[in-house]
Symmetry: C2
Subunit: 190 residues, 2 copies
C-alpha cells in the first residue's frame, strides 16, 4: 500500500538492530485517518469472509484493530501480555518470545471472549519473526474459532516469519512489506 | 447516557472491592458499535472546542480513544505505563497509584508526541480515584498543551476522584456515573 510505504519513509526511524520506530503515526501516536485507510484496505481484501471478530495483542495493536473492527461492524478483542502464566482455567494462554525486546511473556485471552462460532481476523502493527501472530492463531484455534486471515501493517519480510506462517496455509495481508534495511538505515520495500 | 448504563447493568460484573468488570464490551473485548456511540456523544459535547489530539493511557483506554479520535478527525496518543521512571529526557513522566490494583507505576509520553499548540481531550474507560486522569492532565500541561476536557465512559462518582478534578476547573463528561455499588453487587447510577 503506497500510502503506508510513503509514510514509513517520511516519518519512520530506523534504530539499531533493524528496529523500525513508527511511534509518531502507528504506535504510541496513531494517525487515525491513515489507520482508517488501512482498515478500509483490509475490509476490501477480506470482503465476503464473514468475519465476526478482530483479534489483536496489547498495546500497540489495539488502536489499529479497534478501527478495523469498527469498519467491519464487529467486536474487537485484545490478548493481554503477562509475565507469568495465569492460574485461572478461564483463560487461553500461550508463550511468546518478543523479537524486538528479546523477552518472553504469556499471551492470554479470557475464554468467554472468543468462541467456536467466531471467524477471526487477526490484526497487528508489526510482523517480525511471527511469534506473536502464531500465539494469536493458536489461541483462536484452541477456542475452536476459524482464523480467516491476518491483517498486518508492516511486515519485516526479510525475517521470514510471515512466510513460515503462510506455508502453514494462513492468509496474511501485509500493507507494507520490508525487503531490507541497510546498515545506514535505508528501507527497501518488496 | 442510557445506552451505556443499560449495558453495564446487563453485562457488567461487580467483583469484590467495588471493582466493576466490563471486559465483555468495553475493555478486553470492545463493542465497537457501542464505542462509536460513546465517541459521537463526546464529539457532540465537546463540539467547537477545536480539539487537536485525544490522549489516553494503555491498555484499556486505547480502543475507546482511537475510535473517538477517528470521529473527531484528529490523532490519538496513548501514555505508556512503566515500572521505573524513564532515563531519557525525551519523555514526560509522572507517577500514578492504581485504585483497582493498588500498585504504583510511571506514566510516560514521548515529548515529540504532544506540543504547546495542542488542545487535548483526555479519554479513558474508568475514573475511580482520579490518579490516572491527574497524571494525564499533568503531562499535557507540562507539555504546554491546553486540556479541553475529559471524556470518561464510567465514573465511580462515590469515590469523589472526578469531583476533586472538577473543582480544579476541568470539564469531565462521564457517560455513566455510578452513585453506589451495594454489598450484593447492585449498581445505582447518579
Amino acid at each position: 500500500m503506497e500510502l503506508l510505504e510513503k509514510r514509513i519513509l517520511e516519518d519512520g526511524k530506523v534504530l539499531s538492530g533493524d528496529v523500525i520506530k513508527v511511534d509518531s503515526f502507528l504506535n504510541q501516536s496513531i494517525d487515525t485517518k491513515l489507520t482508517d485507510e488501512l482498515a478500509s484496505e483490509w475490509a476490501r481484501l477480506f470482503e465476503g469472509e464473514g468475519i465476526t471478530k478482530v483479534l489483536t495483542i496489547e498495546a500497540s495493536g489495539i488502536a489499529i484493530a479497534a478501527i478495523t473492527a469498527l469498519k467491519l461492524g464487529v467486536p474487537m478483542v485484545y490478548a493481554k501480555k503477562r509475565k507469568s502464566a495465569p492460574s485461572s482455567d478461564n483463560t487461553y494462554s500461550t508463550k511468546v518470545v518478543s523479537y524486538t525486546h528479546g523477552i518472553s511473556y504469556n499471551v492470554t485471552v479470557d475464554k468467554p471472549l472468543i468462541s467456536a462460532s467466531d471467524k477471526v481476523l487477526i490484526v497487528d502493527d508489526f510482523l517480525a519473526n511471527g511469534s506473536a501472530l502464531r500465539a494469536l492463531i493458536s489461541i483462536a484455534e484452541v477456542a475452536g474459532a476459524k482464523v480467516v486471515g491476518c491483517g498486518i501493517a508492516i511486515e519485516k519480510a526479510f525475517l521470514r516469519g510471515g512466510d513460515n506462517i503462510r506455508k502453514r496455509g494462513y492468509r496474511i495481508e501485509s500493507l507494507a512489506k520490508i525487503k531490507s534495511v541497510s546498515a545506514d538505515g535505508k528501507i527497501e520495500f518488496c
